[in-house]
Amino acid sequence: MSTQIGHSPTRLAAHSKPAQLPNSTHVDSHAVTKRLQSELMSLMASADPGVSAFPDGDSLFSWLGTIHGAKGTVYEGLSYKLSLKFPTDYPFKAPLVKFETACFHPNVDQYGNICLDILKDKWSAAYSVRTILLSLQSLLGEPNNDSPLNAYAAKLWENQAEYRRVLHKKYSELQK
C-alpha cells in the first residue's frame, strides 16, 4: 500500500498532461470544494427570497445564479441570470460574477460586467455566494451613480418613471 501511495505523485504527473487540467496551479490546500458544497447546501436550504444559485454543469467552480428584483424597486418582477466563476483559491479571492441576462443598470456594462466593490478590492473571505447575490439584489435597487459603467442609465435614474419605462422596454425585448 505504502509503495503505491508513494508512487502516486508521479502517476499524477504522468496523467495530468493528457487530461489537460484546466488549471495547472492547484487548488490551495484548503478545501475549496468543501466550502462551495457547504455554501450550496445552505443556499438550497435557506429560502432566501429572490436569490438562488446552482452549479452549472459538472464543475463546482462555475455556478449560475438568479436574482429577482426586490419589491418596491423599479426592478420588481424582473429576474436576472448571473454566472459565478470561482477561482481555485476561493474564498481568498473573489469569484468572477457577471450578468448573463443583459441588465440595464448604472453599474452594469453591456457585457454584463459588474462594478461592485465587494467583488473587487473590498472582497473578504467572509463573504459567500449568498451575500454576493443579496448584495447584487440590493445593488439593483440602489445603484452607485458616482461610478457608473452605464452612463445613460445613471443619468436616467433620476427620473424613475422614465427609467422604469426604458428598463421594462429593454427587458421585454430580451424576452422575445
Binding site: I5, D28, M41, D58, L60, F61, A126
Partner: protein, 595 residues
C-alpha cells in the same frame, strides 16, 4: 444559512443560527483549532493562517470580517471557543434528535419570533438564571420550548393530547439519553459543555426546555467542570439547573448543593451519586482532567515551524533541497514546490496550535495526501468536463475507449481479463457481495489517489465501496442509495426548478438536493459535517428519484482503482452523460494511467 439536519419548520433558522456561531466564517465548517485575531474575530487555525499567508504577500492583511489590519503574529489560541465548539458538536446529534422529537408536535403556525420573545421573557423573569450567571450574553443558548396553555389558541383537544404523549416520550428520551450524552462528552475531547435538560410537567402546562447554556466560568477557570448527569429517572423531578454553574460564592437554591470537586450545583439527593460517578477515587480520566485544567497541555513534540521563505531569492535546487529536508516530494513545477512548502508550514503551525501529537513526517505525509486529494478532485472535474464535451461527437470518445481497452488488454492479468470491458453485475468478482455492504472503517484503506479523493468526498457507503477496490460496484453500490429515505416536501427543489437554470441535465440535480432534506447523519462519513456529505446525499437522492447513473461508479478491478463520480466537485452534473444516453462512462484512458 440553514442546515437540513434540524427539523423543518420555522425553528430551524434558530437552530441554524446556533450552528453558524460555531462555524468558521472562512471554511463554513465547525471551528477546528480556533485562533483569534487582535480584533477579536476567530477563525480555524488552518483557514486564517493560509488566508493571512496569501494576504501578507500583497502586504495588506486584514481581518476578513472587520477589515482591521492584522498580522499572523497576532494570532492567539482561543481555548474557550475550541472547547465550546467541541462540546457543541459532541452534543449536536443529540440535540437534533431531541428537537426532532419535540418540534413535530408543535402547532403548525408556531415558534419563530414567538420563541425568541419567549427566550427573552424567560431570561428576564427568571432572576436566578439570568442575573446570576449572566448567560444571556453567552452566544450558544438554545431554548426550544413548548407551551400548551389553552391561550395558545388553535391547539384542539386532540392535538393537546397528542402533544402530551409526545412530550412525555420526549422527556423520557431526554432522561434516557442524558447519560449517553454525559458519557459522550466525558469520553470526548475537552468537552466542557453539557446538555441540561429540564422537563417539567404540571397540569396542562408542559414545558420542555433544552438548553445548551454556556457556562460563565468556561475556559477562564481552572477547576474542572465535568458535564454531568443529573436526575434519576423521574421527569417531573429532574428540574436540573445543571451546568448553569453559578459563581462559587453565589447562594444555592434550596435543595441544591455544590459539588466539592467540580463546584457544580447538584441536587442534594444526587450529590453522592454525582461524586461516585464523576469523581471516583483514583479517577481514571486523566486525559480528561488534563485538558480540563485550562492549561495548555503542550505535549513534547519535535514540531518546529519551518522558516518563512522568500522564494524569489532561491534557486530551484535550493527550493528542492528545502522540500526534501522536510520529506516533501519535489515533483511538479516550481510553483507547486512553493505552494507545497507553504501548506506544509501552515500544517505545522496548525498542528502546534491544536497541540496535536504528530511528527513532522506525519505532517509531510498529510500534506502529500491532501495534495493528492485536491489533484484528484480537480482531475475528476476536468475529466468529466472533457467527457461531456466529447459526448456529442461520440466518435472521439469511442476512440478513447478502444485505445484504452487495447492497452488495457495487454496489461490485464489473466485472472481478470474481462472485468472492466463488460462492467455488468454478472461480471462482478466474488468480493462484490462484500462491496455492497460497506464498512466504514475500510474507507481509509483506499488505494491510489482517486480512491482517496472519493473516500474523502463521498459518503461512507461510496468510500467503502471504493476502498474495497475490487468487484464491480456500479450496480450494487448505487442501489444502496436508492433505499434511503426521501423527504417529499422539497421546497428548495421546487424553487430551483423555477430558477430555471435549465441546460443539459440540470433538472435532475436541482431535484436532488431537495431529496435530501431528511437529515442523514447516518450516511455521511463525518456525521456532523453535513457539507462533506452533500455530494453523496445529492447523489443518493438522485438515484432514488430517477435511477440514473447506476453505472457511475466505474472501476478498474485489476489494480483496485475506482472512479467515483460522486466525489467532490464532480457532483452537480453527474447526470449529463446519462441524459445524453451514455450509460457507462469508460474511463479507461485515465484509469489506465493511474494504474
Amino acid at each position: 444559512m440553514e442546515d437540513l439536519d434540524w427539523p423543518a419548520g420555522r425553528s430551524r433558522s434558530t437552530f441554524c443560527q446556533l450552528d453558524e456561531l460555531a462555524k468558521c466564517p472562512i471554511c463554513h465548517d465547525f471551528y477546528r483549532v480556533p485562533l483569534s485575531l487582535s480584533c477579536g474575530h476567530a477563525y480555524c487555525s488552518a483557514c486564517i493562517r493560509s488566508y493571512l499567508g496569501s494576504q501578507e504577500l500583497q502586504g495588506d492583511a486584514k481581518c476578513p470580517q472587520c477589515r482591521q489590519a492584522c498580522d499572523s503574529r497576532d494570532l492567539r489560541p482561543c481555548h474557550p471557543l475550541k472547547d465550546l465548539v467541541e462540546g457543541y458538536t459532541a452534543a449536536r446529534l443529540l440535540l437534533i434528535q431531541t428537537a426532532q422529537l419535540v418540534i413535530p408536535a408543535e402547532p403548525p403556525q408556531p415558534l419563530g419570533r414567538r420563541m425568541s420573545q419567549r427566550v427573552q421573557k424567560r431570561q428576564r423573569s427568571s432572576q436566578d438564571e439570568g442575573a446570576k450567571h449572566g448567560t444571556q450574553q453567552q452566544p450558544p443558548q438554545l431554548v426550544a420550548r413548548k407551551d400548551r396553555r389553552p391561550r395558545q389558541g388553535p391547539g384542539s383537544r386532540e392535538t393537546q393530547d397528542a402533544g402530551h404523549a409526545s412530550t412525555r416520550s420526549a422527556s423520557t428520551f431526554i432522561d434516557m439519553t442524558k447519560e449517553d450524552c454525559g458519557r459522550e462528552l466525558r469520553s470526548g475531547r475537552a468537552a466542557r459543555s453539557g446538555l441540561a435538560s429540564d422537563a417539567r410537567e404540571d397540569g396542562s402546562d408542559l414545558d420542555i426546555e433544552l438548553s445548551l447554556s454556556s457556562d460563565s466560568s468556561w475556559g477562564s477557570e481552572p477547576p474542572s467542570q465535568k458535564p454531568k448527569r443529573q436526575g434519576g429517572g423521574n421527569a417531573t423531578q429532574s428540574n436540573v439547573t445543571a451546568n448553569k454553574a453559578a459563581p462559587k460564592d453565589s447562594k444555592l437554591p434550596p435543595g441544591f448543593a455544590e459539588c466539592p470537586a467540580c463546584s457544580m450545583r447538584v441536587r442534594e439527593a444526587l450529590l453522592g451519586e454525582h461524586i461516585d460517578r464523576y469523581h471516583p477515587v483514583g479517577g481514571n480520566d486523566d486525559d480528561f482532567q488534563e485538558s480540563r485544567k485550562g492549561l495548555p497541555v503542550r505535549k513534547p513534540t519535535s514540531l518546529e515551524v519551518p522558516p518563512k521563505v522568500a522564494f524569489s531569492m532561491l534557486k530551484n535546487k535550493e527550493v528542492q533541497a528545502k522540500l526534501s529536508f522536510y520529506g516533501l516530494p519535489t515533483d511538479g513545477k516550481r510553483q507547486d514546490w512553493e505552494r507545497r512548502y507553504n501548506s506544509f508550514r501552515v500544517e505545522v503551525q496548525t498542528a502546534l496550535d491544536g497541540e496535536e501529537n504528530v511528527t513532522m513526517e506525519q505532517l509531510a505525509r498529510r500534506v502529500r495526501s491532501e495534495e493528492r486529494k485536491i489533484a484528484a478532485a480537480a482531475f475528476i472535474g476536468s475529466r468529466s468536463k472533457k467527457a461531456e464535451e466529447t459526448v456529442p461527437g461520440a466518435s472521439s470518445f469511442e476512440q478513447l475507449i478502444s485505445t484504452a481497452r487495447a492497452r488495457n488488454a495487454k496489461k490485464a492479468t489473466a485472472a481478470q481479463p474481462q472485468a472492466r470491458s463488460v462492467p455488468q453485475p454478472q461480471q462482478t468478482l466474488p468480493s462484490s457481495g462484500a462491496a455492497a455492504q460497506p464498512k466504514q472503517e475500510e474507507s481509509c484503506a483506499s488505494d491510489g489517489m482517486l480512491a482517496t479523493a472519493a473516500a474523502a468526498a463521498a459518503p461512507s457507503h461510496v468510500a467503502a465501496l471504493v476502498s474495497q477496490g475490487q468487484g464491480d460496484v456500479s450496480d450494487e453500490g448505487c442501489r444502496e442509495f436508492s433505499g434511503q429515505p426521501v423527504d417529499s416536501n422539497a421546497q428548495p427543489h421546487a424553487s430551483l426548478k423555477n430558477g430555471g437554470h435549465g441546460k443539459g441535465g440540470v433538472q435532475a440535480p436541482s431535484a436532488c438536493p431537495g431529496q435530501q432534506l431528511q437529515p442523514r447523519s447516518g450516511c455521511s462519513g463525518q456525521g456532523q459535517h453535513p457539507g462533506a456529505a452533500l455530494a453523496g446525499d445529492i447523489r443518493g437522492g438522485c438515484e432514488a428519484e430517477g435511477g440514473w447513473g447506476a453505472a457511475k461508479v466505474t472501476k478498474k478491478a485489476e489494480k483496485g482503482v475506482v472512479f467515483v463520480h460522486a466525489a467532490g466537485q464532480d457532483m452537480p452534473g453527474l447526470q449529463t452523460r446519462n441524459d445524453l444516453g451514455v450509460d457507462e462512462v469508460p474511463d479507461s484512458d485515465q484509469d489506465e494511467q493511474l494504474a
